[in-house]
Subunit: 328 residues, 2 copies
Amino acid sequence: MATIKDVSKLAGVSVATVSRVLNRSGYVHTDTEQKVLHAIKALNYTPNFVARSLSNKKTSTIGLLVPDITNPFFPELARAVEDVMQLYGYTVILCNSDESASKEKHYIDVLKQKYIDGMIVASNALSVEDVREFDMPVVVVDRLIEGDTIPTVMSDNRKGAQMATEFLLGQGCRKIAHIRGPEHLLNAEERCQGYLDVVQDIDWFDRSLIVSGKYEMKRAMEATLELLRTHPDVDGIFAGNDMMAIGAMRAVQVLGRTIPYEIEIVGYDGIALSEIVFPELTTIAQPIYDMGALAARMLIKQIEKQPLDSLHYCLDVQMVERGTTRKG
Amino acid sequence: MATIKDVSKLAGVSVATVSRVLNRSGYVHTDTEQKVLHAIKALNYTPNFVARSLSNKKTSTIGLLVPDITNPFFPELARAVEDVMQLYGYTVILCNSDESASKEKHYIDVLKQKYIDGMIVASNALSVEDVREFDMPVVVVDRLIEGDTIPTVMSDNRKGAQMATEFLLGQGCRKIAHIRGPEHLLNAEERCQGYLDVVQDIDWFDRSLIVSGKYEMKRAMEATLELLRTHPDVDGIFAGNDMMAIGAMRAVQVLGRTIPYEIEIVGYDGIALSEIVFPELTTIAQPIYDMGALAARMLIKQIEKQPLDSLHYCLDVQMVERGTTRKG
DNA sequence: CTGTTAGCGCCTTCAT
DNA sequence: ATGAAGGCGCTAACAG
């Protein structure tokens, strides 16, 4: 691998000059610039990023921390992040935390040592203080750190949940249940709240209509089986995410009831999977790709010391009507 | 951030000594080691990887090149790679190539400049020469570069395809079609060949029983619709991957035929999705996680100059009987 | 066992 | 407009 020194020698100039043409910094005569450019081409020279990083204190690398890339929500997010980062000349390191605080901390340490320029966190075993201790640009996705100064992008969970629930009501459902996500996740809490906003004052409502599915398909399936045993008259289900909605579909199918005629189901997220099951899942779609792309842009702005237009972004969600609910 | 110099000062020793205790290289008296350790703790010192990389020529970072992390096959692979890399102190940079040669080349260039230690390639817009030009440790996954010296891990596509086809035959199918993947992908070619191995000498066989689905669900659905129009008597379908198998399921469902009673379907890959559709998909499962983990281990061996037990690994696949084929 | 010193490759004043 | 030289933080001879 040729170094800047080789280039300078071949071009008959000093390394400083080569550096100048490389970075378009400072003045350099057109002729000498040409000489340098030729030398560069002749040697097939490309600058060594590591060396550059050392003197720059900028690695053009960011970290992306997700719970598990295997969870269908995150590939879309990761793809978005990677796309825009790539566009701006950054490179992204992928980290799976499994929502374990110790794993997360370990990653943070490693990434800090590697002097990454910033990170996008879509996993939250960590507390606000932990995140603040990062002491580098950060954007948190889909996990609000309430009322804080840490930049955030998320979607309007509560409103989305209200939309879903109201939609089921509008479809004529007489008893709507909710399969909720993990208690410790704010977004699960908000979605549950949105459901409550709509149904809690209706006469048929009862807290036992809310069951827990841990954002997992299997759990949701079991929870639904149990739910339909205690409440055989449930005719609408709003699941806190698509995976659980699919679990619910399974349970209903196992019981031999037909979707959407006997029971209607609405999910949340709008992951690609929702179009792959049959019937296709009606869902509240978050703009997953947009969220990732926005987070990436926000992070870059911070890294490049540009002002952020807003600290917190809450993107709109969209109702996508498909096969698990009846048409008009 | 404290530097090694700060530590050396505080401990009253030279930087060399600090470096020695840091890397457990060379001798150092227990007492001075203690002093150093204390200084390290006192200053909360952690070494700067960038600086280390510069003098080491080792970044402990590898690249993972996939076509698209959004394609359900790759998250599982990525997860495996990340898991073992993490175990050995490496960090992984994720790259989506969209199977575009120019994108791939661009990535390679960037990663080279970043002096990554090696890379795992699960995408192949590139030719053998291109890959050899990487001039760094590489492992190619699921894409054989035929008869070459580049380390490879894949699964036994041909045998797997034979298993699938024979299984359908054994189930009593009278006319078995194949939905194949892209012509330019070797694994698609091999799977098609495996199908042919089993059926080409049977009287009902006809080349028009092979249709192309591009490894995509939608295309496969359309292809299946068309297939069942020309060959209404097809009662078994072997799809080159699970996504296409799901597309085929859709087509069959749309036509109002029942799975598995009127038509049986077998997929290939064993992605998580295959358990999520209903009926659950019978498939030839590749050990995706194992393949990723093995590739990662092979890469590390190369990086650390250890000998590879074998240049090419071909892992066994497994028939997983589920709902899209009849039992007993 | 420990310290001195010369790199690793690049950037950036400071002179000229 | 260009060059010389110090520094980024760490490692690895080479002395002692």
